[in-house]
């Protein structure tokens, strides 16, 4: 038989109950005609069902209250971002903060469109983001597969080493990478600069680990069954594992895309011409007054313009993430 995975250990009570269920006495019980005696009061199945229903409603209400409360907490800064984008700078800097703009300044948005090269930065960010994300997805899927399913010498050691690289703060590596990229000669031309914004980040141990966890949950039996059928690893990966792991893979897609969208330090360093810059850089530089004070209203307006597409993206992909993927494939 197949190798057993880690077993779920039932408690003694459960074992006893299991035993009881196998006995003939149990089979002879006719539940429909029984009356239950609870605390010397007679009650019927109907009353019990009602009690259960109340409990269910109560827990539902509590859940909604809890979620509602957390949702308010969670959404408040976003709301603040939007109203700040409609305020004037003086109102923002005032000591008494207002919860709704005194004067709604749609003009902030107009100014944003006029003042920075929105379209260029957007295009750059999209190019970098999408190629980055696709590249990461590919390397992540391969690596997670190798770590989750394939047996090879040094697997655990290598995985530990990879994990260890997460333990060093990224800031330390920036300057060496910058010099490396300069030495490759990538910094003088368009293709090179975009390459240097994309390629170093085609590997993310963070996501490899995540997907590996997910892949490991897919039962080994499936793999062995496929092997018996004569399928290669490659086709198993793409025909079985990837579809089964799709909620996680889509999550990685969105998170990575957003990470590229929000990345600032590296692109700022590497993109030395205005027309190669990304949106994050444009956001921060475009709205500072002469003496270095940021104009928050305009910054927020630009930010809203930039984050709304991300939100829409999430809304679109949400159902694919949340869609339950059943394990029906196993039993058949």
């Amino acid at each position: 038989m197949a190798k057993k995975q880690k077993e779920y250990k039932p408690s003694r009570r459960e074992l006893a109950y299991e035993e009881h269920r196998k006995s003939p006495e149990y089979a002879a019980i006719d539940t429909k005609s029984m009356t239950l005696v609870i605390r010397e009061n007679e009650t019927t199945v109907a009353a019990l069902e009602k009690a259960q229903k109340t409990a269910k409603v109560l827990s539902l209400v509590l859940t909604y209250l809890f979620l509602g409360f957390m949702a308010l907490i969670v959404i408040f800064p976003f709301y603040w971002m939007i109203i700040t984008s409609l305020k004037s700078t003086t109102e923002i800097r005032a000591s008494q903060q207002t919860f709704f703009p005194q004067a709604v300044l749609w003009s902030n948005y107009v100014k944003v469109f006029q003042s920075f090269d929105f379209v260029t930065y957007l295009r750059n960010t999209l190019i970098v983001g999408i190629i980055s994300t696709i590249g990461t997805l590919i390397t992540t899927i391969f690596a997670a597969f190798a770590f989750a399913r394939l047996e090879f010498k040094g697997r655990d050691f290598l995985f530990a080493v990879l994990l260890a690289t997460m333990m060093i703060p990224g800031e330390m590596m920036v300057i060496t990478n910058y010099i490396t990229v300069a030495n490759f000669g990538w910094l003088g031309n368009v293709v090179g600069v975009f390459t240097s914004m994309i390629v170093p980040f085609w590997v993310s141990v963070f996501y490899i680990y995540l997907l590996r966890q997910n892949f490991k949950q897919i039962p080994n039996e499936l793999y062995l069954a496929a092997k018996v059928d004569g399928k290669s690893d490659w086709s198993y990966l793409w025909q079985v594992m990837v579809p089964l792991g799709s909620p996680t893979i889509i999550s990685i897609f969105i998170l990575k895309l957003m990470g590229s969208w929000n990345s600032y330090v590296w692109p700022n360093l590497v993109a030395n011409k205005q027309e190669w810059r990304l949106i994050t850089n444009g956001l921060r530089s475009s709205f500072t007054s002469t003496s270095g004070e940021p104009e928050y209203g305009l910054q927020m307006a630009a930010t809203v313009l930039v984050t709304v597409p991300l939100l829409l993206l999430f809304i679109f992909f949400r159902k694919y993430i949340m869609k339950g993927v059943g394990r029906a494939g196993i039993k058949g």
């Binding site: 994990l163 333990m167 993927v325």
Partner: protein
């Protein structure tokens, strides 16, 4: 029955290994090397020899002599290390538990599911500056938090705030920020759990609590482990939250009472004192490594794939 797939595995891992060798291992080794260099100059990339003293300086054990007085650098030991530890041991367990409860709750409600799921993702798309501004307003002297707790006029994160109060505000901020990612991970993990397990539980009249602890948590354990490991590692490296909320190294100008280890490292890079930052990074790495190894050992019996 499964043969060793050495060469095949390395093929799958090829791109990862190559990219990491160039952009991760190589910089790591060279920056770790800097920790052992004396008087490293960032701009000329030159140094004056090999030494262990940088570690001593960072920990406040080795002093620097200047004009007859010896000065010890106590910021790391006095502020950065305790603050980092508090962040790690407070925010990670709390945010994990809260996000788990939210994820399970989201999964179980019959109506408004889509909207709620979207709402909980919003912190992830909210700009960090905006978030910092909001929290500054909420924790203001006359802000809502003080209004609710009846402490109008008491500072949380600005002048005069005690380190304790500021740390509380910081932890709230960090937890808030950490929720969406964890919720997302748990939700996609929950989506993969076969409904059959839950049906079986219903038939056996298991209570909600039992369902949660005996079925959901074990089946979600790979994701929980992932979240714990990556969160702990991430929280040891916390720095952007302090900048976002406090804006500087301390609650008042000139103070460093909100320092974290990585904030210190970041400052040394800006001040051309990279050798101290590297030393601190090496020490931090060793601590995280030990802690993570401990976590794996503890989790061996509790994670089910």
């Amino acid at each position: 029955m499964i043969k060793k797939n050495n060469w095949k595995a390395w093929l799958y891992l090829g791109p990862v290994i190559i990219l990491m060798a160039v952009f991760t291992f190589y910089p790591l080794i060279s920056t770790i090397g800097i920790a052992f260099l004396k008087d490293y100059n960032y701009l000329t990339q030159s140094s004056k020899g090999f030494t262990f003293e940088n570690f001593g300086v960072v920990l406040g054990l080795v002093g620097t002599e200047y004009q007859g007085t010896t000065y010890y650098m106590t910021d790391v030991v006095k502020y950065a290390i305790p603050n980092t530890l508090i962040i790690v041991f407070v925010t990670v367990p709390l945010s994990t538990i809260i996000s788990l409860l939210i994820a399970v709750g989201l999964n179980s409600i019959p109506w408004f599911k889509k909207i709620m799921q979207t709402i909980f993702f919003i912190p992830y798309v909210t700009n960090a500056i905006a978030v910092g501004m909001v929290f500054a307003v909420l924790f203001d002297y006359q802000g809502i938090i003080n209004f609710i707790t009846g402490q109008m006029g008491t500072p949380w994160i600005d002048l005069g705030a005690s380190q304790t109060r500021a740390m509380i505000a910081l932890c709230v901020y960090i937890i808030w920020h950490a929720l969406p990612f964890k919720i997302l991970i748990f939700l996609s993990g929950l989506a993969g759990i076969d409904k059959q397990y839950y049906d079986a539980a219903k038939i056996d009249c298991a209570s909600k609590f039992r369902t949660l602890t005996k079925i959901t948590v074990p089946l979600l354990s790979p994701q929980i482990l992932y979240v714990l490991i990556t969160s702990f590692i991430g929280s040891f490296k916390e720095y952007t939250a302090v900048v976002g909320l406090i804006g500087r190294q301390g609650t008042s100008a000139g103070s460093k009472n909100m320092y974290t280890v990585v904030y210190y490292i970041y400052d040394t890079i800006g001040n051309n004192q990279v050798q101290y930052g590297s030393a601190a990074a090496v020490l931090l790495f060793l601590v995280i490594l030990a802690f993570t190894a401990l976590q794996f050992w503890v989790s061996k019996k509790r994670v089910y794939y």
